[in-house]
Symmetry: C2
DNA sequence: CGGGATCCTGCAAGATACTG
DNA sequence: CAGTATCTTGCAGGATCCCG
């Protein structure tokens, strides 16, 4: 293995993609502690992304979010919002009216996550057809083998 | 609601982020069919990303992947690789040697996904400290309320 | 309206054992 | 070496009821 200078505080930011990846895996043998995994787990969460994207549009109240996301259960919405608030991605403002209103909105940090997230969305938009084609090809190939 | 011109074949690519998001949600009332969700579910998968990042480094054989990812079970590795191959992100080459060797590598499509993925990784690298700080602040705040 | 607390279930995923 | 098959379980997540 080639010797490689690794900065103590993080990966070598000038390193090419592969080296960066290898570096991350080496520095976090316990994957549950890896910050990258933490983020990816969140993003992959069934609802987190949907909530973030919805809030990207404009601030929403609890009920608005429920209706916007349609098939989210109230339990999951509450839970997702709490974790997002805890992570500092979403802020929760309570209006002491009657009945009480609660408004959720993206924090600057949450907004910053939106950019890479949108990168993924764009990839999905432009490459989903390829994925579907690959699936069709693969499926017909394996089925004809059977 | 404001009227908005939606191109038949996809979201308005010039639209600002929020409108794009709203658009996606509207066009896919059934979220399980939404291509964006499909991609995000994959990325969020506990192992998919790890495998892709590992293969980004260089092609790996099955056993190499197992050892590289350490705490993946053989079952999950097989399953993950099969789905990635089916989606056309990873290619599988069999060498008819004795004993047989199988090499997995990224396809061009898989490699293209790497870019947005790395965007997320970079976000995690640069903002994880903020998330942890937010958590600490949030936790101490709620705990003192109790 | 905006949740909290409970109960219950399905499936994701680990462990183990076997095969070409 | 590179998987497949089977069994088993944890827990994500839905449904439901209640409360300030």
């Amino acid at each position: 293995m080639k010797t490689m200078t690794i900065r103590q505080d993080g990966a070598d930011e000038d390193a090419p993609v592969p080296a960066r990846c290898a570096d991350w895996r080496q520095r976090y043998p316990d994957l549950s502690l890896c910050p990258v995994r933490g983020v990816l787990d969140r993003v992959g969460d069934k609802w987190t992304t949907l909530v973030l994207l919805t809030l990207a549009e404009r601030p929403h109240r609890f009920g608005e979010l429920r209706r916007a996301i349609v098939d989210i259960s109230q339990r999951m919405l509450t839970q997702t919002l709490r974790e997002l608030a805890r992570d500092g991605l979403v802020s929760r403002r309570v209006f002491p009216t009657q009945p009480p209103g609660v408004e959720y909105s993206l924090t600057p940090l949450g907004h910053s996550l939106l950019q890479p997230l949108l990168g993924l969305v764009r990839w999905a938009e432009s490459h989903f057809a390829d994925v579907e084609a690959a699936r069709a090809a693969h499926d017909s190939a394996t089925e004809e083998a059977a």
